[in-house]
Symmetry: C2
Subunit: 350 residues, 2 copies
Amino acid sequence: MDLNERKLKILQAIVSDFIKTSEPVGSRTLSKRPDIDLSPATIRNEMSDLEEMGYLTHPHTSAGRVPSDKAYRLYVDQLMKSADLPEENKQEIAQRLGANTAELDQTVEHAAKVLSDMTNLVSFAITPNRSESKINYINFLPVDSSTVVLMIVCEDGKVTNSAIKMSAPYTEENLTFMSKVMTHNFKGKAVSTLLTENIAATFESDMQSLSGLAGSVVPSFIKTLEKMLNVDLYMDGYSNIFRLPEYNDIAKAKNFLETVTNKDEFTNVLVNREQGLMITIGDENAEDLKDCALITADYKVNGKLVGRLGVIGPKRMKYGEVTSVIKYITDNLSKTFEIEAPREEEDSDE
Amino acid sequence: MDLNERKLKILQAIVSDFIKTSEPVGSRTLSKRPDIDLSPATIRNEMSDLEEMGYLTHPHTSAGRVPSDKAYRLYVDQLMKSADLPEENKQEIAQRLGANTAELDQTVEHAAKVLSDMTNLVSFAITPNRSESKINYINFLPVDSSTVVLMIVCEDGKVTNSAIKMSAPYTEENLTFMSKVMTHNFKGKAVSTLLTENIAATFESDMQSLSGLAGSVVPSFIKTLEKMLNVDLYMDGYSNIFRLPEYNDIAKAKNFLETVTNKDEFTNVLVNREQGLMITIGDENAEDLKDCALITADYKVNGKLVGRLGVIGPKRMKYGEVTSVIKYITDNLSKTFEIEAPREEEDSDE
DNA sequence: GTTAGCACTCCAACATGCTGAGTGCTAACA
DNA sequence: TGTTAGCACTCAGCATGTTGGAGTGCTAAC
C-alpha cells in the first residue's frame, strides 16, 4: 500500500481540519470540502488505509480520525502550505520590536512577548551563549575596605561582574596590578578556553607578591567566568494555553505549566536543540513534552553570537503561520543587532 | 446586636473550617466540634445574626455559610492563632536558603522558590530599590572604535553598565577624563537626586573640550541611572494554583495567571505596598486581585536597602502558617545580607 | 474502483428521580 | 428569655435512563 496522491490529499485535509477545530474529522465532513470530490464511503476506505499505515488514529469506534505524530511530521515536511506573513503582521512586528532596541536583554524579552501575542501560544527566548566570546579585559575596582568588584569585559561588549570579599587587606595598587596582569594573560582567550585551563597556576607564578589576595580572587574569577556563560530565559503567554481545548483538563494544564516553568530544565532543552529552524513534534520531544510541538529558530548578534526563540504548544498548531512569524522575528532581531551591533547594552543587577 | 464571645467563637470556627475545606460550613458540622457545645439550631440563629452583621454569606438557600472579606479581616486581626513555625520547617528553610548565599539576585530568586514550596502558593520576591543608593564612582571603558561601556558603581557595590555608541571618535584619554570629572561631580549623590538634577548643565561646563562626545554620553548616563532603579521580580509556584479548588474553573485560573504574570503591573503593586508585614484581603486589593489575599514582608540588605517578598493566593489561606514562613524567610535573608554584607555580588547580563 | 445503504457503536446532552446537607421557622422546654 | 427539637422546604450532586447525531465498517450494487 503506498501513499498515493489521493491519500496525501485526504491526509492533508484531515490534518489541517483537525488543526483548526481540534475535533476528530469524519468522512462526511471531508466529502463536503470543495477540493475533495469523493463520497464519504470512499474516504472511509482511504482513511482506513491511512490508519493502517500509522498516519491516523481513532479515539473510539464512532469518532472521526485524528492525525498521529507521523502525520504531523509528514504534514510539516511536505503537505503544509508555507503561509507568507501578511504585510500588516510584518508591520506590526517590526513596529513593536523597533520601539525598543536599546538593550539586547530587553529586546529579547520583548520579542518573546510579541511572539506570544502573535501566535497565541507560550513563547520563549534565550540570550546568546558566550562561551566562545573572547575576553577584552579584566578590572578590579574598590568598593569598601574589604570588598572589590571584579569586572570581566568581552570583546562583544558584554560585561559581567561580581563582588569579592577579600580575605586580606588590599591597596589600590594591588588592584591595578592584578587588573593588568590578568588582562595581559587572558585577553583574547575565549571564556570556555579559560574555564578548562588551570587558572590557579597562572596566578601562582604571576602573583606571588600578593599571595594573600590571590586566594580570594581565583575562585571568584572562575565563578564570574561561569556567570558569563549563563543564558537568560524569557517566557511569555502562559495564560494563552487556557484558550486551547486540549488544556481544558486542569491536570493537563498543570502538567504543562509545571514542565514549562521549570526554568533550568527548559533552558537546557532549548540550548541543546539543533540550530536553524527546528520543529519537533510529539515523540520527537523529551518525555515531558510528548504532547507538545516545539518550534525554534536562531537570531544572531553581530553575525556571530547565536540566541534562540520559539513557541511551545499542542501538536495541533498552525505550523505555517507560526513558523513564518518566528522566522520574521528572528530575522528582524538579527538585523537589529547587526546595524546597532556595538550598541548591545549590558546591565548589572544585584 | 454585638459581637459577643460566642459569636466570635463561632465565626472563628467557620473561618478556620472554611480555610481547611473550602466548603461552606453548616450548623451541624459546627455543633460536632468539641470546642462548640451548642445545638445546630442555636448555631443557626447566631449564624443568621453574623450574616446580618456582614461577616458571613450564603451561596444558596440550602448551603452552609462562607466568610466574607470582613470576616477574614477580623480573623487575621483578632481570631487567628499565630502558628509558630515547627523547628523542622525552620531547619529546612535555613538549609535551603543557606545552600546558595553567593549572590543577592540568585538568593532572592531562590527564596521565592522556597517560599512557594513551603506554602503551596504562588510566591514572589523583588530586589531592593536603589533610588537612595549613593554613587561611588563612574567609569568609561573602551570596547571598540565606536563603542564604550559606561559603568556606574554604587557605594553598596551594585554595578550597572550600558554600552554607548559614540557619535564621534574618542581616545582613551577622553574616557579617563570623563570618568574622573563625572566621579568627582556625582560621587556621594543618590541616584534619585541625580535624576532630578539638570545633568546636562553639569556636562556643558565641564566637558566643553569634548563637546562632540558629551552629546552621546548624557542620554546614556541618564538611561543607565534609570536602569539602576529597576527592580527585578521573581515568581514561583504558578502551577500550585491548580491544587486549589477555587481555580478548578478554567476561566478563574486564566484570570489569575494573567494578572499575576503581568510583570510590570504586579511589580508596581508590590513596590507601592506599605512596609512591614502586610496582609491585604479581597476588596482591600486592586480590582484584579479582589478574589485574592496578598501577604508581603520586607528583608533588608546591609540593614538599609529594602526588598520584599510574599505570596498571593485565595482569600481562604492559612494565614498563620504562611505568615510565619514569610517572616522566617525575610529574617533569614536580612541576616544573610548583613553578615555577608559586602559579599553582595552583582551580575551583568546583556 | 466507487458508491449507496444499513447495522452498529458510542458520545453528548437532556430529563428524571433520589439523597443528603443545609436552612428558617415555630413551638415547646428549662 | 435563651435554647432546643422538629418539621417543611430548598438545592446541589449523583446516578440512571433515554434519545439523537455523528461516525464507522461491511456488503452489495453500479
